[in-house]
Amino acid sequence: MKQFPQLVEADFEALRRLLEEFLDKTGASLALLVERAGYLILGAGDAKKVDTTQLATLAANAFAACQFIAEQLGNTAFNSMFQQGDPLDALWRQVDETCLLVTVFPTEAGVGFVRYHAETTARLMAERLSIAREHTAGPGLDLSDLNPRDVAELFKKKDQ
C-alpha cells in the first residue's frame, strides 16, 4: 500500500494553489486535503466556523466506513460521497489511496458542478503527490540535537 509522501515546500505550494483554484472555480467555502488516517494535511477557504482538525478526522473515518459498506455491497469503484445539508453541503472525493479532497460548499453551488471540478482537482493533486513520492526521502529531518531523554515528559499536567 502506498504511503502518503513527505511534502516539501514546492509540493505544498502546488497543492495549495490547486485547492485555491478549485475554490475560485466552484465558489466552495472550504476545501481540505485529508490523509486517510484522519490527518489534516492542508486546507483552504473559510475555516472560521469549523474546527478543521476535527472535520478532517471525522471526514476520513466517515469515508472509510462508507467505503467498507460499498465493498460489502459489491461496489469496488467507490471513490466519492456527498452529504446534503442546508445551507452547506459536503463532498468527499478520493485523490488517491492515501488521501481525500473534502469540500464544503453552499447548496446553491450545485453538487454536480462541484463534483465536476473536484474530479479534475483530485486528478491534478494525485499527479503532484506522485511527484512528491519520487523525492519522498527529501531533505531528511535533522533531529541530531534531540536527546530522547528530553522527551520523557512530552505532555505535562497543568499543575506541573
Binding site: Y39, I41, D51, T57, N61, P148, V151, A152, E153, L154
Partner: protein, 205 residues
C-alpha cells in the same frame, strides 16, 4: 508511519487506545483533555466523542494534542479510542487504519481476564487484516481500575498480557482519578519518537 510535512515543519502521529468494553479508554482521553497543559501560545483542543445514547463509544473518541516542538518540528499527536464491545469489530479495524502506536487498556479485575485476552487477540487479528503486525507497532499496556478491590497486581497482569517474546512497558492506573494516565501517554509518545528517530537515521544511512 507518521506523516511528515517539511513545508510546514509538522510531524503527525496517530495513537489508538484499544481494549475491552468499559476498560477506561474514553476515561483516559477525558483525563488528558482535562489536564494536559498545551504548549505556550497554543489553545486547548476539543475532545470529539461519537457515543451512543448511553455514553458508550459508538465509533471513536478523538483528541488532538500538541507536544512541544522537537528539532523545529511541531509534533501533533492524535489520540483515538475504539469501541470495546465485541459487535464493533469492523469499526475498530477502521479506526486502526494508519495507526502509529497503541495503548492497550486492560481492566485489572481478575474476573475480566478473559475479556482482556479476547480484546488483545482481536487487536492482533484486526492488525493482520490491515496487513500490519503488532511486533512492528510500538505499544504499551495500561492496567486500569487498580482502585477496585478485586484488581489483580501488576505482576499477574504482566504474566497474563505481557508474557511475550518482546515485553513492552506496562503501567498501573486508576484513570478515573487521573493516576497513570500521563505516564502511559508519555511512554507511548517517547517510544514512537525514538522509533521515528531510528528510522530517520536508517534512511539517511
Amino acid at each position: 508511519m507518521p506523516i511528515i510535512v517539511h513545508a510546514t515543519k509538522e510531524i503527525q502521529i496517530k495513537v489508538v487506545y484499544y481494549g475491552p468494553a468499559k476498560s477506561g479508554k474514553t476515561t483516559n482521553l477525558e483525563q488528558v483533555h482535562a489536564q494536559v497543559q498545551p504548549p505556550p501560545g497554543e489553545e486547548k483542543s476539543k475532545l470529539v466523542n461519537l457515543a451512543t445514547g448511553s455514553d458508550r463509544t459508538l465509533f471513536f473518541d478523538f483528541l488532538p494534542i500538541q507536544a512541544p516542538t522537537i528539532a523545529g518540528y511541531k509534533t501533533k499527536v492524535q489520540l483515538y479510542t475504539v469501541p470495546g464491545q465485541v459487535i464493533y469489530a469492523i469499526t475498530r479495524q477502521l479506526v486502526l487504519r494508519g495507526v502509529d502506536g497503541i495503548v492497550f487498556v486492560a481492566d485489572s479485575q481478575y474476573d475480566l481476564m478473559p475479556e482482556n485476552l479476547e480484546s488483545f487477540a482481536d487487536l492482533e487479528s484486526n492488525l493482520q487484516t490491515l496487513k500490519l503486525n503488532l511486533a512492528n507497532i510500538p505499544y504499551v499496556l495500561q492496567y486500569n481500575k487498580q482502585d477496585l478491590p478485586n484488581a489483580a497486581p501488576r505482576e499477574y497482569l504482566d504474566y497474563v498480557l505481557n508474557d511475550r517474546e518482546v515485553r513492552v512497558p506496562s503501567f498501573t492506573a486508576t484513570a478515573a482519578e487521573g493516576v497513570g494516565v500521563f505516564d502511559t501517554l508519555n511512554a507511548i509518545a517517547r517510544i514512537l519518537i525514538q522509533k521515528f528517530l531510528f528510522e530517520m537515521e536508517k534512511k539517511s544511512g
